[in-house]
Amino acid sequence: MTALDPTDLAILRLLVEDATRSAAQIGRAVGIGQPAAWRRIRRLEQQGVIAGRRVVLDKPALGFGVTVFLGIKLAAKGRTGLQDFERAVTAIPEVQLVQHVLGQFDYRLRITARDISDFERILRRRIMTLPGVGQVEANVVLSEERRPGPLGALDTP
């Protein structure tokens, strides 16, 4: 586990807002020089705290109007069952997220489709034909937001 000081947290908050900010801009915002800001950002990347970037697009404007979360329960379990399922599901281009979970379902998936009939095609041809697939529950996303998480609460200057 990595201990961060208030300056690191301030830098993370700024980069979560906009990852394209330069080290000079970040440095000015948190009151340190550009080289010091650059070193801190680099350290946060090397420690794996900053794990890359997320591009957020207006998907409906690009023709992808439907996002669906699926809960999937496997009919047959066992190690090979999981591996076969995971290999097949990650090969589906419309599947953005695959998570192995514990609870009412075994996997949760996030799927982006052009519209409901496109989603129906993906569900019938790609999802229902996955090896070992059992019960499937679909929920269509209406709205979505990401929160800063504990970054905001950890540091109160």
Binding site: I50, G52, R54, V56, V89, Q96, G103, L142
Partner: protein, 154 residues
């Protein structure tokens, strides 16, 4: 004004989604446009709201937040303000990193993180079970993320 991204814009977005950490110079080269043209097109897509933002991804596990749970809520909709009240209260929980509303058997979903199982129990009892208008609640505990990619078949 409605902005329609053309095939060059889509090519730029495809390259950006494929490697969000690429520099503008790299993106321009891969998309086959000049640096100036890339900059102009990215600005236009930002202004039009097609490109909403490029954000740093935080790995909470690297910061010692070991537990991640997907909580699914069904609300008691007898109170017309249930949705608004619930969302406002959920946003106040600092351990919540993602919120979605749904059309379906589930009304809301939130991703909640905690430092360990003892902390999770505390967050669950003190911050989640106290949220207003909950009719049903179930939890999926994350074992592992097999794949997480933002790319679209553009």
């Amino acid at each position: 004004m409605i902005f329609m991204p053309d095939s060059t814009d889509r090519r730029i977005l495809r390259q950006l989604l494929g490697d969000p950490s690429a520099s503008n110079a790299q993106l321009a080269e891969r998309a086959g446009v000049t640096g100036a043209s890339l900059w102009r097109r990215m600005e236009r897509m930002r202004e039009a709201g097609v490109l909403k933002g490029i954000h740093a991804r935080i790995d909470w596990r690297a910061l010692g937040w070991e537990v991640e749970v997907s909580l699914r809520f069904t609300l008691d909709k007898t109170d017309p303000r249930a949705f608004d009240n619930f969302l406002a209260a959920l946003r106040e929980v600092p351990e919540v990193i993602e919120i979605q509303s749904f059309l379906g058997s589930v009304d809301w979903r939130a991703t909640v993180i905690a430092r360990d199982m003892a902390h999770w129990q505390q967050v669950y009892r003190d911050r989640i079970l106290t949220l207003p208008h909950i009719a049903e609640l179930d939890a999926l505990m994350l074992v592992s993320t097999i794949s997480d990619r933002e790319d679209l078949p553009l």
